[in-house]
Symmetry: C2
Subunit: 309 residues, 2 copies
Amino acid sequence: MDEFELIQNYFNWPLIDPTVELGIGDDAAIFNLDTGYQLVTTTDTLSEGVHFFKDDSPENVAYKSLAVNLSDIAAMGAIAKWFTLAITLPKVDEIWLKKFSESLKETSSKYNVSLIGGDTTRGSLNITITMMGVVEKSKAIKRSGANNGDNIYISGEIGDAALCLKKINEGERPDKAEMVKLNRPIPRLDLGYALNGVASSCIDISDGLEQDLSHIMKASKVGAIIDVQKLPLSQSVVKYIEGNNDWSVPLCGGDDYELCFTAPKNFNSKIINIAKSCKIRITKIGVISDSKNLKIKGYDGHGESYKHF
Amino acid sequence: MDEFELIQNYFNWPLIDPTVELGIGDDAAIFNLDTGYQLVTTTDTLSEGVHFFKDDSPENVAYKSLAVNLSDIAAMGAIAKWFTLAITLPKVDEIWLKKFSESLKETSSKYNVSLIGGDTTRGSLNITITMMGVVEKSKAIKRSGANNGDNIYISGEIGDAALCLKKINEGERPDKAEMVKLNRPIPRLDLGYALNGVASSCIDISDGLEQDLSHIMKASKVGAIIDVQKLPLSQSVVKYIEGNNDWSVPLCGGDDYELCFTAPKNFNSKIINIAKSCKIRITKIGVISDSKNLKIKGYDGHGESYKHF
């Protein structure tokens, strides 16, 4: 099978997006932006042995490759639209490719995004997705908008993905529900979009709350005070912390892809309504300060967030 | 050095593009499209050991990573504008990174494109660039527009990059000028843009003329007749063919990134003027036929264009 058959067989499904004039099969794709919108773009790579295990299922790898990019679009309060896939494969394994392709198609259909281009090359397994989205002009939620006195919120629960990874690395076998937390993070697109015009800043928690909140602080030139007792945690994470007195799992563990965002205090009731309409838990974990430091009540600081090198 | 310092030190130079509202440093970049334009996007990966040698200079690797993507935008008759860089690195080698970064910056400045986002990860050296560009509405040159009777043209000269690669693989040492042809292909952006409204179809020759022209034929549902005696060749390639009776170098050799395009017969004088204004050699190598086959006069068909797997 040559590259063109491979693309035809596995990555060239029909698109129903009217904004796409030309998808896969030319030197480049052609697509249209509606008036009044800006473009938003992000790229994330997943490498075997770094971001996923060698024996992880192709379905999970495809899902997660797309989800982490969708999560970045969510964090901007934008609408995800189009993506390209650059996949480096050690060999043509048709069974693997079929499963990967079906999961990618299913996930892209679920989140209404169109695969419009790509490249397949030979080498160590490496998947780079570049996701493009749209946002109403001047409406994107940047990291730089947090103000002194704003509340700090996070969506869902954090620490489960890191706890699952910790178990695997220590030779334990996490249960199915724990594996789902690591392998199938849910991009919070509905929430991100609903926060448009409400949140003053937003980031997705990919490298750990402590590090990701610090990015908001740095970009906004503010500090933050959060309280570990307020963190939204699953029963597994609570049990782990009780047993090990180790808060680094929810504070420094990445891979949950929940949103961490700030909003003015008087928007608290709006946030409660958004939580209801998006059917998602939203928890206030602290406030933005003018100190430029991150103060974490109840934590003595022994953890370390994810380092890429 | 962590990922954020790495990006700050090597990939976050000031942008002067007024269409970019937010570049590197948030979850996603934000940029604007002028009214009346469509978006064009392409992605290409270069992997060490496949697309370049382990000892190739970081300057050349950066240049070529960008050039191959620019070439795809050129083949659409579009204007290149913004790009993302996903780079997987085995380790942080500051000397390598500095050279790579300087070359990328210099090349992006030369071709007026802005680096607006990216991702750095650890693993085997792998560079994926996703390039976005703009084209006036309905003006992109697709592969599918060639008609029976159209002339077929190519820009520049072909076969030099393949000959250089052949010499390296056979243990010979190509001279400096030959290495430049392999390592520094020139994206034909001016030409692509000038062909907008003139060419009926276009592709860049990345995998070999025979294979790339076949893509035009397939997309346009036509055939083609070309003549090896008309191919624009350098003295080195002519000499090689005379010595080896091997036409596969210019016919099946990739990596030249010249444009292969078609245009109605009565546009021939326009093409001659475009060649003059773009200061580039343009050669008519054949005509589009209604046969759906590729007939190559003077070639018995022993070569094979580049296979990705």
